[in-house]
């Protein structure tokens, strides 16, 4: 029996990123209809193919039903009560960072993402997205020298329309699911990455998503294309202020890897999770999917999900190319009244494809944490292999953990292996560490990071350290 009061004390660490930036914004009226979509498209000066893409998606969305199969419970979302476009007001055209509103730069400074020339992070190029628009992208010239394109997706629509038209919606079609259709209709910004043939991206690329306003949704869209024999490591971070209302975040991420290309996509998601009573917090409904189109291509997802009131997210891989590889490494931590339903889909289509799934779920407080995964071997996936490992850790006696593995095989000459475990931090373990001078909270966080080590090892170095700290912070006071 773990001391209940201690447990309650531990999780009271306030959310560090809960501030609001007071900035003049341009918002459109609430609600969603064709005119709103046309307005968004017009504001962004988009070509006709994109407006058509949006309108088609909207038509599909109207006919779709919000999915209810996930192990999640939440108040119905009123889609007419959301603002679909919100942007900080700034000068028409910005040619350099000096012209960006200092308040915005300050905001990202406070979040630990300095953007200015003097302070910017070394070795990581950052695309900073504030509400509906991208504010700035660093290291653009350096990247351009290598032929790497890294910019906001709005800019890509203007400058690289051919690539957008060729690839947008090819991995996650608008009709894929309810939230993907909604995103396809109203997405406002996001990041675009193009790595040309044979290029190893000289630095990590990173997008930082910040929701600032309380009544607008964030619908970003990310598209990454890795040409033959290229490789890139991409990081994504997210935070939002504390509001007592729920904010909808419905993103779509599409990755495409051609022959021998590799994409590593890492996320540390720390959206505001709501308070101890479950009031407020982000509803995070995200569709992330990668297509291993080329032979021997590789897509690796790693995610550390600590925030959001609701997380609904299944980063997946379509393994088409022969000998292509898909990976999913996930840590999902829920506390208080958070709910997470997350996992992956590994769809083996080509022969000799390989996938690995390592999922670590940690539930504390009254939270609910589910792993949901699909491994499918198609008829042509001869000699393909999957290995899945899903471990759950429970902290306290009010939290719950579920594992829903779905396995479908149409190919007898393939292997699927699934391991699962559930553990609880025991009083004996805590006492052992404490009796060696390690205080209670540190003991818990040591055990939690030990539990997550297989996944943390997959994260880029700075990210792994950040993830470790973040988990410790989130758990402070949650154990007793």
């Amino acid at each position: 029996m773990v001391n209940e009061n201690l447990v309650k004390d531990v999780v009271k660490e306030p959310y560090k990123y809960g501030f609001v930036t007071d900035i003049e914004t341009e918002k459109i009226e609430k609600g969603l209809n064709e005119d709103i979509i046309k307005l968004i498209s017009q504001k962004k000066e988009e070509p006709k193919f994109l407006l058509d893409f949006r309108l088609k998606a909207f038509k599909k969305w109207q006919k779709m039903k919000e999915p209810d199969w996930a192990a999640l419970g939440y108040k119905k979302i009123d889609y007419q009560d959301i603002i679909y476009y919100s942007a900080p007001k700034q000068k028409e055209k910005i040619s350099s960072l000096d012209e960006v509103d200092p308040k915005l730069l300050e905001t990202f400074d406070k979040l630990g993402i300095p953007l200015t020339e003097q302070k910017k992070l070394t070795n990581v190029a950052v695309d900073a997205v504030f509400d509906s628009v991208s504010i700035a992208t660093t290291f653009r010239e350096e990247l351009a020298e290598h032929g790497v394109i890294f910019c906001s997706i709005s800019e890509a629509v203007k400058n690289h329309a051919d690539l957008i038209e060729k690839y947008l919606g090819t991995v996650v079609p608008a009709s894929d699911n309810y939230f993907a259709a909604l995103n396809s209709a109203v997405f406002s910004d996001g990041s675009f990455v193009y790595i040309p043939k044979g290029v190893t991206c000289p630095m990590d690329l990173s997008s930082y998503f910040r929701i600032n306003s309380g009544d607008s949704g964030q619908f970003e869209r990310t598209l990454i294309i890795a040409e033959e024999s290229s490789s890139v490591s991409y990081l994504e971070g997210c935070t939002a202020p504390m509001f007592d209302t729920n904010t909808l975040h419905a993103a779509v991420v599409e990755l495409i890897a051609l022959d021998d290309a590799s994409i590593k996509y890492s996320t540390v998601q720390n959206w505001y999770a709501g308070d101890e009573e479950g009031i407020g917090g982000i509803f995070n409904f995200v569709t992330k999917r990668g297509k291993c189109l080329g032979k021997r291509s590789k897509i690796s997802w790693s995610q550390v999900e600590t925030g959001s009131a609701i997380t609904w997210k299944y980063p997946s891989c379509l393994l088409l190319g022969e000998e292509s590889v898909g990976e999913f490494y996930s840590v999902a931590l829920t506390n208080n009244l958070q709910q997470a339903d997350t996992g992956t889909k590994m769809i083996h289509i080509g022969p000799k494809t390989k996938s690995t799934i390592v999922s670590k779920g940690i539930s504390a407080g009254n939270s609910k944490n589910s792993y949901r995964g699909l491994v499918k071997m198609g008829t042509k996936a001869t000699g393909s292999r999957n290995y899945s490992q899903c471990d759950s850790m429970l902290i306290g006696d009010q939290a719950s953990a579920n594992t829903f593995p779905y396995i479908k095989s149409q190919q007898p000459n393939s292997e699927i292996e699934h391991e699962a475990s559930t553990c609880r931090i025991s009083e004996d373990q805590l006492f052992y560490l404490q009796s060696r001078g390690i205080d209670f909270e540190e003991a818990v966080s040591m055990m939690v990071s030990g539990f997550c080590r297989d996944v943390f090892n997959q994260l880029p170095m700075e990210f792994a350290a950040e993830a470790d700290k973040l988990l410790a912070l989130k758990l402070e006071g949650s154990v007793g």
Partner: protein, 261 residues
């Protein structure tokens, strides 16, 4: 010699200690005083309260002290957290060392050592300096460096776990070490390694309490005092020959003491 020791202040004083778990009384008035340089052995049947006594001194949260005091270096520690007791110099060697999956032994030892060093106002050690220190200490228990990169106690054999306990004792340099059946499950060679380790670590300033069933550990480490526990009480205290007598006559012999009292 004993009277000379007692000129200094005691390290540990357990005074008329009673304790229970889930309202079940386990200790029923235990008194025990340990002076610097002393080695005490506590013997007794399974379930007599030996292990409970050691856990309570270390601060295990499952037990409530219902009466009496525990004093360490003259200060009452009844309400200190386990980590505070450890940092101030109380060490419990576990009968069954706990496995902590995923946590590297090296990192665990370093964090633990630094917690104690911080208390002593000594500089905390970074990974590099700690490696140097731990290498030295590994020799004391004849452990291989490879143990450090494994998870804490995970997959260790019984003997390896006990040696890891003594390694921790060597790193923490406690004022008092309570070793709960450190000898159980050890073969003769491992027992010698552990015993010689304990002897190397202890000195005229430290106190040791050995909880054991067997004479063979006491052959290696000769105690100043032997206490026999039964039903939550110390029913007899003697010098090292008491252990020999106990070995010869068995615990049934001690049952008579209870009848007498």
């Amino acid at each position: 010699m004993q009277s000379k020791m007692k000129e200094s202040d005691p390290i540990l004083e357990v005074e008329n200690l009673s304790a229970s778990t889930d309202n079940l009384p386990i200790l029923k008035g235990v008194s025990l005083t340990v002076y610097p340089g002393e080695i005490h052995a506590i013997m007794g049947r399974n379930g007599c309260g030996k292990s409970t006594l050691s856990k309570i001194i270390a601060g295990h949260p499952s037990y409530n002290i219902t009466n009496g005091d525990i004093k360490f270096l003259g200060e009452n520690i009844n309400s200190l957290e386990p980590e505070e007791r450890s940092q101030s110099g109380i060490f419990l060697g576990f009968q069954y060392p706990i496995e902590i999956p995923g946590v590297s032994n090296l990192e665990f030892l370093r964090v633990s050592t630094n917690a104690r060093r911080k208390f002593l106002n000594k500089e905390e050690l970074d990974t590099f300096d700690f490696e140097e220190l731990v290498k030295e200490k590994l020799d004391i228990v004849k452990m291989d460096h490879a143990f450090l990169s494994r998870s804490v106690n995970q997959g260790f054999s019984g003997g390896e776990k006990k040696r890891n306990e003594i390694l921790q004792m060597a790193l923490l340099e406690p004022k008092i070490a309570i070793l709960d059946e450190t000898d159980s499950g050890l073969d003769i060679d491992a027992l010698r390694i552990v015993a010689s380790g304990i002897k190397k670590i202890s000195n005229a300033q430290t106190g040791i309490i050995l909880i054991t069933h067997y004479q063979r550990l006491l052959d290696e480490i000769k105690p100043n005092y032997v206490h026999v526990m039964s039903d939550g009480q110390i029913i007899k205290t003697g010098e090292s020959d008491l252990a020999l007598e106990l070995e010869e006559k068995g615990y049934e012999w001690t049952d008579n003491f209870i009848k007498e009292t």
